[in-house]
Symmetry: C2
Subunit: 351 residues, 2 copies
DNA sequence: GTGAAAGCGCTAACAT
DNA sequence: ATGTTAGCGCTTTCAC
C-alpha cells in the first residue's frame, strides 16, 4: 500500500503492456513510430495508453539511447532586455529543432556558472551556450578551455556568445557581435555632428563587452586625430540605475561635455532621466546615444540613437551552429555585424 | 574503434571503478556522500574521478532514484519585462532549492504549451508553473484540469500563476496578482484628479489579465457613479507596438479624453510616443498611466505613474508553494496585492 | 568496508 | 508481427 500511494499513476511501459495483453517491446514499438505492428495490436495498445494516461519516462529513454536532446543556455541576467531577446532566439530555435532548453542565470557569479555547467555536463547536454562578456583573465581562458574540452570529450559542444575566444585549437564555437565596430560607427556619427567632448558611460572595466565598446569609442576619436579626455570615461555596469548614478555624478562634478554615449540603452535610459532631472534638454543641451536598440529605445524622449544588435538572430545562430558541429570541430569564429540607428537624441553641436 | 571514437570521454562509473581498482558500488558510495568508506579507498576513487574527469550521468541517477529534481516554467514571451522578472524569481528560487529549471516560451500558442507540458510530464518534472493569462473558456478549464490531474497522479504539481483558477477540487496551486484591484486603485487615482473621459488601452478582450484590469477600470468608474463611454475602451495586446498603434488610431478618430490608462507599461510607452508624435504634452495635455512598474517606467518622460506588481517575488513564491505541497493537496489560492506608484504622468485635469 | 546482484524504465538486437 | 533477452549507467539491498 505504501508503494501504491506513492507511485500512484506512475505507470510504466510494462503496465501498459499488461493491460493491452502484449509485451513491453510491442508497446515501445507502437509508441516509437514506424516499426511494423498489426493494426489490431496498435489499436489496443493505444487504447491502453490513453486509458492509463501513460507518458514514457524521458530519462529512461535518454539513457537507453533514444530521447530528446537537451541544450543549455547560461546567461548573466535574464532581465536584461538584450539577453531576453537572445534567450528567445535560443528557445525558439531549440524548440524548432526538437531540443529541450535549460536556462540558467548566474547573476554574474562565476561559481554559479561553473556549477550550472557541471550540471549540464551531467545531463549530457548536446550543447551549452555561454552568453555575455566576462573578465578575460588567464584564469578565465584556462577554466573555460577545460570546460570546452570536457564538454567536447563528452560529445557535446561549448558555444561562446559575445564572449572572448579562447585562443586557437579550443573545441568551441564563438559568435561575437561587433562591439568595437558598432561603438566606432556610433561615436563617429556623434563626432561628425561636431561634438568634441563626449562622455562615455561604460560598463565594468574588466568586462569584455564593455571593453569592446570602449575601444570603439577611443578608436573613433583617434581616427580623427582626437584624444578624448580620460576624465570623460566613466565606469559602472549595464543597468539603468548605473546610468542614472553615473550621469548624476558627472553633472555634480561639473564635467564638461556636449554629448554622452552610453554602453547600453538601459544605461542611456537612466542617464536621460538624470539629465532631465538636472533640467537639461536632450538633444538641445546635450546629445545622447545608447547601444543595443532595445524596443524601448524608441519610446524614450527623444527617441534614442543607438546601435542595433540582432540579438534574437544571434540566439538562433548560436543553437544552429552548436548543433551543426561534431565534437571535434576545432574553434570556429563568427562575427556578426551591427549598424547604427539614427533617431532624435543626437543633434549637431550648437544647434 | 567505432565505439571508441563515438564514446570518447564518456566514462562510466565502471570505468572509474576499474581504474581505482574497486567496484562500481564503491565508487557510487564515495560519490554519494556519507556512506562509510575507508579513507584510502576514497582517496583512490577520488583521484580516478579527477583524472578521468568523470561526471555521473544525471539521467541514469534520476532513473535509479537519486537525481536532481526538475521544475518547468512555461510563459508566453520571455521578452516581456514583467515575465522576465518572474522568470528570474523562479530561476533563483529553483537554484536555491537545488532544482533544475526548464524554461519554455510558447508565443501564446496553445499547441506549443500543450506539447511542452507533455514533455515536462515525460521528464517527471516536480512541478510545472504556467504563467500569464489566457482565454478562460470551458475548453481551457477542462484541458488544464486534465493536465493538473495527470501531473498530480504522476506525483508532480501544476501551478497557475496569474491564470484563472479551475474551479474547486482541482489539484493546482493558483497564485494571482490582483489585476482588478490594482487597476481599480489606479483609475480611482486618475478620476480623483478630475478626469472624466479616460481612454483605456486594453489587451486582448478574451485574455484574463486584460479582463481583470479592464474590470478594475470599469469598477472604479461605477464606484463614483460614472459610466465610461464604451468608445474609450480599446483592445490590442500587451506590446509597445500595440500601444503605439492604438493611441494613434484614437487620435485619428478624434476621440476625446483627458487621460489614458494603458493595460501595461509597455503599452503606455508606445502610447506616450504616439502622443508626443501628435505634438501633445504629457501630462499637460493628457495624463497617462501604465501597469506593471517595470524599471523602465521611471525613464519615460514624464516618469510613468503605474501599478507595482511584485513579479520576482511572485516567481519565488510560485516555486516555493509548488514544491511545498504533496500531490494530493487540493486547490489552493493565493492573491498578491499590488500598489500604485505615483510619478509624474498623471496631472489634475485643467492644470 | 566492500563486492555481487538486482532493478529503475526504456530500447534494441535477436529470435521466432 | 511479436516476444525474449540484453543492456543503458546508476543506486541499493544483501551478503561477506
Amino acid at each position: 500500500m505504501t508503494r501504491k500511494s506513492e507511485d500512484a499513476g506512475r505507470s510504466t511501459i510494462r503496465d501498459v503492456a499488461a493491460r493491452a495483453g502484449v509485451s513491453a517491446s510491442t508497446v515501445s514499438r507502437v509508441l516509437g513510430g514506424v516499426y511494423p505492428v498489426s493494426a489490431a495490436t496498435r489499436t489496443r495498445v493505444l487504447r491502453a495508453v490513453r486509458e492509463m494516461d501513460y507518458v514514457a519516462d524521458a530519462r529512461a529513454k535518454a539513457i537507453a539511447g533514444a530521447g530528446t536532446p537537451t541544450l543549455a543556455f547560461v546567461l548573466e541576467d535574464i532581465t536584461g532586455p538584450s539577453f531576453a531577446h537572445m534567450a528567445q532566439g535560443v528557445e525558439r530555435e531549440a524548440a524548432r529543432l526538437g531540443h529541450l532548453c535549460l536556462v540558467c542565470s548566474t547573476d554574474g557569479d562565476v561559481r554559479h556558472e561553473l556549477e550550472f555547467i557541471e550540471m549540464m555536463r551531467a545531463q549530457r547536454a548536446a550543447a551549452v551556450i555561454l552568453v555575455g562578456g566576462t573578465a578575460d583573465t588567464p584564469e578565465y581562458r584556462e577554466r573555460t578551455r577545460r570546460i570546452a574540452d570536457s564538454l567536447a570529450s563528452a560529445g557535446s559542444r561549448l558555444v561562446l556568445c559575445g564572449r572572448p575566444p579562447l585562443g586557437p585549437g579550443a573545441p568551441v564555437t564563438v559568435i561575437e557581435y561587433d562591439n568595437e565596430g558598432g561603438a566606432y560607427a556610433l561615436v563617429a556619427h556623434v563626432l561628425t555632428q561636431g561634438h568634441r567632448r563626449v562622455l562615455f558611460l561604460g560598463g565594468r572595466p574588466d568586462h569584455t563587452t564593455a571593453q569592446g565598446r570602449e575601444r570603439g569609442y577611443l578608436a573613433a576619436h583617434r581616427a580623427r586625430g582626437l584624444d578624448p579626455d580620460p576624465e570623460l570615461l566613466l565606469h559602472g555596469d549595464f543597468t539603468r540605475d548605473s546610468g542614472h548614478r553615473l550621469m548624476r555624478q558627472a553633472l555634480e562634478r561639473g564635467l564638461e561635455f556636449t554629448a554622452v554615449v552610453a554602453a547600453t540603452d538601459m544605461v542611456a535610459a537612466g542617464a536621460l532621466t538624470a539629465l532631465h532631472e538636472a533640467g537639461l534638454d536632450v538633444p538641445g543641451d546635450v546629445s545622447l546615444a545608447g547601444y543595443d536598440d532595445i524596443p524601448f529605445a524608441r519610446d524614450l524622449h527623444p527617441a534614442l540613437t543607438t546601435v542595433h544588435v540582432p540579438y534574437e538572430e544571434l540566439g538562433r545562430l548560436a543553437v544552429r551552429t552548436a548543433l551543426g558541429h561534431t565534437a571535434d570541430t576545432a574553434d570556429e569564429h563568427l562575427l556578426l555585424g551591427t549598424h547604427v540607428v539614427v533617431r532624435g537624441s543626437v543633434a549637431a553641436v550648437g544647434d
